[in-house]
Symmetry: D2
Subunit: 275 residues, 4 copies
């Protein structure tokens, strides 16, 4: 039609070839969303497992995602550097991946919050950052896990002071102001007999999702559940499972809570950074 | 931390100031999604009203959206040219708006498909196109509505041939191949006594959402329901309503099914293109 | 060849259609260049006329340039909003126009500085800024001319204090520090009997180049000299003239030194902003 | 001033950090420029040495350029991947480098074409392409040298057929149409006793400029002449030499005509790809 010329204003936005893409999303105003849905403080296992589930949905749908790391209301995904996903179009990738994560989050909410109905639709922002080399990719994920450690140590001490120490949030904030890491460990141990290093690794290390090759014969369904360590073997979305077995080669996504700053992880999973 | 340098790889992506933004999203593989959820062909009122509801959610949350147009599995939103939303950052806007639309779509699904449980999480792509002048914005929306007309005429004839004419989809395709608009009208009228122009405007014109100023005293709640013509006065999301009355000035979103190619609409709603 | 894949790393950079382009270039380290070539202070007529000549070269070669404005070591060029020059490729336009200006500057240097051999090759930076509307284009050129006025008033007072008032540059700087425009006029008039408004408009208003339609029969050569007000009718570059008469429709470039902030200029030359 | 808002339309264009930049420029319409200035065919030593000189000017001014390769009317420059030149701003780098090359070309023209006055100002286009890894940088330069070989073999055979074989250009074109490399060698050897491999390496391999560390005491001037193999020891630009000794650490630029496709060059000059 005579109006079709408007399509020419849509400019190409392909990303530089042969460069790692890191896609990070983050909950929009989750301070309010977590309050309105009474998230356990500092960490709500239901919320963190739902974030993991949505991330696994993304990794099952998009095979070019080799690795993911999640903490709090954010998740980061590494796409292999030679991915041709949507012809490397920036907006197409950012929007579709953010949308599928959001959809999975709302879709699976009732399984993780059976007695807390969603009060309003949550949303997430998303972005892609390009990294030319493997070292920068390692440093990116180290950056995020270092952030997890600092935030979780602070939040653990903060809420211990409030929930067990009887302090107001203002007082707890003042108590922790200017303290270094060692002092926070000291407060937790001496006042609340909490040995920080004994706290569940999920909260200290965040969630790491790695794609692992599976042996020839397809692993039994249950093993493909998005959250292997969830007691009840939760049946995967019916259609998704059918589709997975048929078309997609059998890869499994494993959930870990381990250090990804030192070398050992990257030596064990070196194939993640290869093409 | 020593890893924080990776943040510098995140390059600024602000869009050109004082330029209209059109944000368009489109369902990912909705051919399959509509099949798997047994959408009525050619048009499923439940699905189209759910799309409208998700679009209204966006317009209530983002006041810089002045106008929206939806058809099939797509929706286009006009942001006023001087918007400072997220400092006009492209990825931040594309991701967050696509995410909220998706979230609202999944969140409100059960109201529109009470007897069809969602089988898997749907997703949408999103993009922003810049238009420097009002004429190009008008031509953009005319382009989309012209597309609606052509697709809907074809689909109406196609499914009449299949559902009432007993043809296979291949035969229907062959029948319509090479026919011009008048011949499609002729087939509908002579073979199936369908006067195309009498078909509900919603299917012929698509959905137009306009922001209208409301009189001082806040309109009664019910009138703020996202889909005025939905029989049951569906209570707006509890928290959203509270928030709307408090912070945001009272504006209402009106749903229309009218021509937006000729001048009359744009003369009546000329303020939509002003700043 | 097996190496040809590297061409794919060259990403498209077309600029938004139907949007005004302003191309501005500026001399690289001309503080040093003007010192090393003993430019007259504050304004060197030879240097300013050479800048005009290089700008006219650009306007004769690129017919999509409708208007230009120059001062000091910078020149700004307006390209009509629907130009398809080099398919609106940003780097192709910025590099080629900056290159031709530089080439013309060095090529014509001896005509304007017959007794000052170039000591080293000068260079210029270049950039394109997009403006969606006519008002912004007007404000851009007003911004540059306002800048000319402020700099020239300061420089005229500064060098009067130094050259006629016997002050050192530091003293002159201190004298003018914190003074407003009126006080600078006062210093010039009371101390040096210089009526600022009587100074040649070229220095107060900068150089404006406008493309004007020429009557049918081609104007005599001499009138096409890049700097009409240069006494000696300097023969245009031989080949360029031949080419101009043959292929290009006869347009002439006029050099003015007039106000481009108020409406009168834009009313007289309104066609410059039309397509 | 109230017009200063227009500066906000100038959007940041910094290039991805820690990524190799290859800056390539190419003569604008040099088919015509070489004809109008009677360049020797197929290769004009004066023109190629002038291109080398302009490239050396760039390497002396911009120390972040580690390597350059030139053929015909084009030159490619490698900037080290961590360069902070002009804060990695794309237009600032493309325009300024293209401008200095052009300026040096016109400035030094008379030395290389003493008896051929420039008829009009030549110009060049310029662009930057990003390469994330060393292998892609190697393949880029291999791509250009492979191009040099193919073009030079064709041009050498073509002009031999015309200048010595008495063919018209059309006949020469027809003779060479569809021939493979071996057949071209055969034509040169059997018809014109030209052993292609004996032709000066400058024409077969193009020009390679490498930055080499110089021993402590500054090398004698003459050795710093941009074109070491130009008979007359041409004094470097007066001011440039003074500046070079004072501020910049002593590095020398060496001109080579050697293979840069196989490994040997890159093993010898491996530091060129390091940071
Ligand atoms: N109680 C609790 N809160 C959580 C949990 N995960 C995330 N949050 C909350 C704590 C933070 O206020 C917020 C995440 O921090 P952000 O910097 O992303 O803030 P927020 O999302 O509010 O702002 P944003 O829209 O991202 O700029 O989400 C959880 O497991 N439990
Ligand atoms: N039966 C039915 N189908 C619909 C309705 N709305 C949308 N669809 C289906 C018809 C089309 O196959 C599809 C929309 O066309 P698209 O070009 O967006 O195709 P699709 O989403 O499959 O591909 P995409 O991922 O967008 O490239 O959605 C509806 O109301 N009823
Ligand atoms: N004496 C004299 N100097 C001039 C004339 N035109 C320009 N200049 C000098 C004065 C300024 O120092 C310089 C222009 O100011 P800029 O802000 O462009 O500084 P410059 O080019 O040194 O730095 P840049 O590389 O552009 O950041 O050129 C002239 O006609 N006479
Ligand atoms: N005779 C002769 N011609 C040369 C020499 N170096 C370059 N040329 C000419 C031959 C080619 O026609 C032209 C370079 O090819 P290009 O593909 O760059 O063509 P041209 O510059 O005309 O077009 P362009 O503006 O770059 O798209 O320059 C030389 O040393 N001798
Ligand atoms: O999300 P981050 O970590 O980049 O930082 P922020 O302060 O949340 O800013 P934004 O999300 O708007 O980029
Ligand atoms: O969505 P459109 O209309 O731009 O066109 P398409 O063929 O769906 O292509 P894509 O969605 O990948 O841009
Ligand atoms: O040239 P301008 O006016 O944009 O400002 P600047 O201070 O010279 O900065 P740059 O030339 O580096 O943009
Ligand atoms: O210069 P190239 O090799 O990229 O290719 P071209 O055909 O000259 O095209 P352009 O110079 O316009 O990119
Ligand atoms: Mg954020
Ligand atoms: Mg958040
Ligand atoms: Mg967060
Ligand atoms: Mg599409
Ligand atoms: Mg679709
Ligand atoms: Mg669609
Ligand atoms: Mg500048
Ligand atoms: Mg300057
Ligand atoms: Mg300047
Ligand atoms: Mg080219
Ligand atoms: Mg060329
Ligand atoms: Mg070339």
């Amino acid at each position: 039609s005579r109006f079709a010329y408007v399509k020419k204003f849509e400019l190409p936005d392909a990303l530089l070839p042969s460069t790692f893409m890191v896609f990070r999303l983050d909950g929009h105003s989750f301070h309010r969303f977590s309050d309105e849905h009474r998230f356990v403080k500092p960490n709500d296992l239901r919320a963190l497992e739902l974030m993991d589930h949505a991330a696994i949905t993304l990794m099952q749908e998009y095979k070019d995602i080799s690795l993911a790391f999640g903490e709090s209301d954010e998740y980061s995904f590494l796409l292999r550097k030679s991915t041709a996903l949507y012809n490397r179009r920036q907006s197409k990738i950012v929007s579709t991946l953010t949308s599928l994560f959001t959809s999975s989050y709302v879709f699976h909410w009732p399984k993780y919050f059976p007695d807390v109905p969603l009060r309003y639709p949550p949303s997430f922002d998303g972005r892609i950052v390009l990294y030319p080399s493997q070292q920068e990719v390692r440093d990116y994920f180290a950056w995020r896990q270092a952030d997890t450690h600092i935030n979780n140590l602070y939040n653990t001490a903060f809420w211990a002071l409030v929930q067990q120490g009887g302090q107001t949030t203002t007082e707890a904030h003042a108590t922790l102001k200017g303290t270094v890491s060692k002092e926070k460990h000291e407060i937790l141990f001496s006042r609340f007999e909490i040995n920080y290093d004994k706290i569940d690794a999920r909260y200290r290390k965040g969630s790491i999702l790695v794609r692992v090759e599976t042996p020839e014969e397809p692993a039994p369904e249950s093993s493909n559940t998005p959250t292997p360590n969830v007691k009840s073997t939760e049946p995967l979305d019916e259609t998704l499972k059918a589709k997975k077995k048929k078309a997609k080669n059998a890869t499994k996504v494993e959930l870990l809570h381990t250090d990804i700053i030192r070398d050992s992880f990257w030596e064990k999973y070196s194939y993640l950074l290869k093409d």
